[in-house]
């Protein structure tokens, strides 16, 4: 004889094995969505908590539950009881709604459930909509700023600790280990083996460090100086951790919001393109010729003014396939990458789900270019005035549109 706990859109119902209602909690009318979604997100509103807290006499040692979130909440309240996940046929729901006094007629229930689903969907959309690209933009900008800050501070620490122990930089090449070393705040004249156990330095490396420490060309340093350098270094190490988290965060978000763009451009470059164009929707509306030079605006306007050769790539230059290719292939690869990016962004906006084989088409084109243009051709890139005029026109148009 096992009772069941049911999470429904209108409240929680406890029934016995004969489908008789033994307990129920009606969510506050007109606030059902808020209660329901809180429970789905593993939050427990107070009234629900009180209700669940007082359930112990409704089941002996096990209870069937129709919803995973409710099941988890119950397992926390009753850690030594046994909860079994089991759904019920939704056709049983209507009589239970009536029995528990939630509603009085089938029609009332249908109307409620239909309205509920629409409103619940709208809320799910509100929770994510529009906001996602803003989060991506802030995220990727933070990532780039973190990188800058980390680089500047690392150079500073190198220089500062280098006043005291300049040889260390060449001995400990791995930057993580180097900054960990500095964060210990060690005076080189009193380093012991014990100080360095947490590193996996070889015997040979340790010897080299000790002898370098003894014969160092560096100057003396006092404990006050050391302490501030070590704090700085510790925080840079933390910043690196924050950076890694930020990168994961962006990858997750991008795979969710723009899975096709991520597959083609890679999540970080995709995110930079979104940031540069002001949003995924805006990116999806750009022609691929503009996408190709996004992030190279300065060079582009310079070229328009002076009539010099226009840039072949902006942000997408960071893509492996572009920058690791021979110079004479880059323009072609950048162009085909940009056009695939334009398609991918449009699929992300208008369809939303990942196209299974989207990355293949790029790989194929990439291989084609590599084969066809295996060696540099004389007189390639015949840059014509006509093309230039066309480009100037389209840029002016874009400027007008964005202003």
């Amino acid at each position: 004889m096992t009772n069941k706990a049911l999470l429904t859109e209108a409240g929680i119902i406890i029934i016995n094995d004969k489908f008789e209602v033994v307990q129920s909690l009606r969510f506050k009318p007109d606030s059902e969505i808020s209660f329901y979604s809180q429970i789905k997100n593993a939050n427990v509103p107070d009234v629900v908590k009180t209700f669940l807290d007082n359930l112990s006499h409704e089941f002996s040692d096990s209870l069937e539950v129709n919803d995973q979130s409710l099941l988890e909440i119950l397992s926390k309240i009753y850690p030594d009881k046994n909860f079994i996940y089991k759904t019920i046929d939704s056709s049983n729901l209507f009589p239970l709604f009536v029995q528990s006094g939630f509603f009085s007629s089938e029609e009332e229930i249908s109307n409620f459930l239909q309205k509920f689903s629409i409103e619940y969907s709208k809320q799910q959309i509100r929770d994510v909509s529009g906001q996602e690209d803003l989060q991506i933009i802030e995220g990727i900008n933070s990532l780039d700023e973190l990188d800058k800050a980390i680089n500047i501070l690392m150079a500073r620490i190198n220089e500062w600790y280098g006043l005291h122990f300049p040889e260390l930089e060449n001995l400990v090449k791995d930057s993580n280990e180097y900054f960990k070393f500095v964060s210990l705040g060690l005076n080189r004249s009193s380093i012991t083996e014990k100080d360095l156990v947490s590193f996996s330095f070889s015997e040979k490396k340790l010897d080299a460090i000790f002898s370098a420490a003894q014969d160092s060309k560096g100057g003396e340093i006092n404990s006050k100086d050391l302490s501030i350098i070590s704090i700085l270094s510790e925080n840079v190490i933390n910043l690196v951790k924050v950076r890694d988290k930020m990168l994961n965060y962006i990858n997750d978000l991008m795979n969710n919001v723009a899975p096709n763009l991520s597959a083609i451009a890679g999540p970080t470059i995709g995110a930079r393109l979104i940031a540069k164009s002001g949003g995924l929707m805006k990116l999806a509306k750009l022609p691929s010729s503009t996408i190709q030079v996004l992030g190279a605006e300065k060079a582009l306007f310079r070229s328009l003014k002076s009539g010099s050769r226009p840039p072949k790539h902006g942000i997408i230059f960071q893509h492996d396939k572009v920058h690791s290719s021979p110079k004479w292939q880059r323009g072609k690869i950048a162009r085909s990458l940009a056009s695939k990016i334009a398609i991918a962004a449009r699929i992300d906006v208008f369809r939303g789900s990942k196209e299974i084989d989207i990355e293949h088409s790029l790989d194929e084109r990439y291989r084609e270019i590599q084969e066809k243009y295996a060696s540099p051709v004389a007189n390639r890139n015949n840059y014509s005035k006509k093309k230039h005029k066309k480009l100037r026109r389209s840029m002016n148009e874009k400027r007008r549109r964005t202003s």
Partner: protein, 227 residues
């Protein structure tokens, strides 16, 4: 081009500029969902159903017989996207039927709700992953048939699981198979066979397979009955 033996109540062929076109009786007269042409016929307004935009229309034109949707049907629709096909199915099931639409992407669901659901009270939109039946809000009618078009590699399994949960023996599944989303290296025909075998070994009987050429490349629609 082959006519189906019997079209559901709200579907018919209409002559437009000398050509027979498939159309559904508009549930919201005056309202065009995706730019399709509206046409009066025998005192009702019909929406021309474009086989290049809707795989269900393509399969009907290519000879799908015995469409399991009709006036008053309750349907579970997996992968509603922005609602092109769902809007025609909504026309078909009419005011006593109900269409439960599952869609994973909230971005396309937003358009679906704004442009389609808000005009049609026989649609219940549910934003959820069709792999995760537990995350649906209540499917509160007994479902008569399932339509699945989600272009995922595991979509046949997803369709099977949804059928096992929501339909009973004798009910039908319409499954769109996009061979490229399952395996790009194999011949489409091989994939259709493989997916139909999967259905059969999971308790379905295959009624018909319709190739969607020339409206869609490498797509087929399979109709199967749960035994």
């Amino acid at each position: 081009m082959k006519n189906v033996d019997e079209l559901p109540n709200n579907v018919k062929w209409i002559e437009v500029a000398g050509k027979d076109k498939l159309a559904t009786k508009n549930f919201v007269p005056g309202n065009s969902v995706y730019g399709e042409h509206l046409q009066k016929s025998s005192n009702s307004e019909f929406r021309i159903w474009d086989p290049y935009r809707s795989k269900l229309a393509a399969s009907i034109i290519n000879g799908l017989n015995d469409i399991p949707f009709t006036d008053g049907s309750n349907i579970l629709y997996l992968g509603s996207s922005t609602g092109t096909t769902p809007s025609h199915v909504s026309d078909i099931v009419g005011k006593s039927g109900l269409l439960f639409c599952i869609e994973i992407s909230s971005r396309v669901a937003r358009d679906f709700i704004d442009n389609v659901v808000s005009f049609r009270n026989n649609i219940v939109p549910i934003i959820a992953d069709a792999r995760n039946i537990d995350s649906y809000t209540s499917i509160f009618r007994n479902i008569d048939s399932v339509y699945c078009d989600i272009s995922q590699p595991d979509q046949t399994d997803i369709a099977i699981n949804n059928c096992k949960e929501f339909i009973t023996s004798g009910s039908k599944l319409l499954l769109v198979i996009k061979s490229r989303s399952i395996d790009t290296t194999k011949e489409p025909e091989t994939i259709y066979e493989q997916e139909m075998d999967k259905l059969e070994s999971n308790g379905f009987e295959i009624n018909q397979m319709v190739n969607l050429h020339p409206f869609d490349k490498d797509h087929a629609l399979v109709m199967a009955t749960l035994k």
